[in-house]
Amino acid sequence: MNTVAVVGFAHADTSLTTSGVETLVPVITAALADAGLGRREVDFWCSGSSDYLAGRAFSFVSAVDAIGAVPPIAESHVEMDAAWALYEAYLKILAGEAETALVYGFGKGTAGDLDRVLSLQLDPYTVAPLWPGAVSIAALQARLALDAGLFTEDDMARVAGRRAEGPYLSCPLREHDVARVADGVAAVVLAANDRARGLRERPARISGFAHRVDPQGLGERDLTTVPSAVAAARDAGVDGAVDVAALHAPFTHQELLLREVVRAGSYLPFGANAMFSAGLSRIGAAAGEVMSGRARTAVGHATSGPALQQNLVCVLEA
């Protein structure tokens, strides 16, 4: 059975054009340079993005222009955070259908009102027609965790390096509890292990990779224990504490809930919420810790859907 490793990573949290193509070109180039791989040496390409961020159908199609796909390439796309595209690429290598892969994610989160757009992820019959917004949904989750005594508003503030004071944005969430919405592009290069060692001295080997989804209904799952994250971490073989973890938590209370699932010596701070590339960026950042020698074991995590409905865990080792 093949093992798979991360051998390159690049990202940009700069402002994107609506298509994203112009920002993707330098990021893809940088990720390939980081991996020491030529564009034509990539066996499989996979991406993650959303039409609802761009505000039009088939928005991922023009992004293919950034690849230079002549002659044609083996390629696929998920309408998910690109962390799940990374999982698809990982499968292709495991299955022996590819030896190398480049995965990219992109999204222009600032093009529309993201909080409102995300209402459309909710049940279209009984919830979305109320337009509750993503921050309000997260606030309901935070309240349940606070009421259960899992942590305090001070604990939440400390995740952001702040104190629990000042006005609420969406009670009990304050401004500092909510990650800034941003545009973003990220690219990660994978290689089968034998190939990986030829590409760089210290690839970040993927020792476990799994994801799960919970039922969406806010009354149909325990919003404070994140069962899908627990199951994904178990499937990925998370066992005891890793050196470092990069969690994809757009809200401070979600970071705290997830830290209960993934124990780590330290946690890389989550910056801006660049949807559809953010999860992939977390895995890239975790891999970067291993590739640089700063960590021996690391976890990259991605989430999707309202109130941590879907979770993915990638375990990386030197």
């Binding site: 159908a57 199609v61 222009d65 002659p71 390439i73 292709k92 039922p215 969406q216 409905q309």
Partner: protein, 383 residues
Amino acid sequence: MRRAAVLGTGQTEHRTRRTDVSMAGLCREAIDRALADAGTAWDQIDAVVLGKAPDLFEGVMMPELFLADAIGAAGKPLLRVHTAGSVGGATAIVATSLIRAGVHRRVLAVAFEKQSESNAMWALSIQPPFSAPITAGAGGYFAPHIRSYIRKSHAPEHIGALVAVKDRRNGALNPHAHLQQPDITLESVQRSPMLWDPIRYDETCPSSDGACAVVIGDQAAAEASSRQVAWIRATAMRTEPTFYSGKDHVNPRAGSTAARAVFKAAGIEDPLDDIDVAELYVPFSWFEPMWLENVGFVGQGQGWKLVESGETRIGGALPVNPSGGVLCSNPIGASGLLRFAEAAMQVMGRAGKHQVPGAATALGHAYGGGSQFFSMWVVGRQP
């Protein structure tokens, strides 16, 4: 490489408006039939892959999230694929990779489109600022390329109508097909209105609500099946840009490259001889001769001759689209998976009245975008 096989397939009754079901109900109609056909229980499904075309069609962002529970994915891994019109094929291929990677034993692939929730033409003609207001509609993109094909190949004008008659009559043998037109004739097609010259009304696909599902298993699951399975002998996906200088829109490189890859991996040397039946993604009749050439069944400029000879009918040398194809049912996101499922049904001997006798090896084919995303698989009675 590990082996994988289709254990069972299921599909909905495809109609213009399935107002009797919700989105979950539409998916479940296909899924329940696939599980029953596969003899698979819910708790045997390890993961779910859902395919669908643009979210704007249903007005739900990533609908697999709210559907997770109803489609049996809650607590399991769930992937959502979107590769434009080829997505149904890509969905089956991703599910196959999950098996071939050794991660799972049985995976459910489901694809759907509920076009009646909105209007696809509206969703596709949203005009971003600063773009030219040149709207031609769905057929308007492809009609110029059909004109180019006719010019390049010197095909006679009635070829498109011949394909339409064949596919619609095949569709009348398929109880799931949206359009049921057993009495269609060459003359009636040629009398139908010219929509996007050179495409006539009867040469275009309908707009459908529908879903399709397949259960894919590993070698042990396939060998444990009491019924014939469809062994997945090879899969391939290839992509090229929508436009680039010098792009061949009639014979796109991504299609021919994908076909060569899938045939090579399946050990097929002479496709016309070795493939018993092909389900090709033909949304406008003229794409049958174009894809016959692009896939490599015949040489350049020869596709229309195979059509004209009648050899692509059931009973011919290469039956194409015995299900009636996209010309009879087009739930966009599911259309590719329907092609892949029909190929499997043919080699499993479970295609009912549209069964091609003795079909042992079949090609499933899908494409999308501006003739740029291609997905294919070859399935057989034997591994």
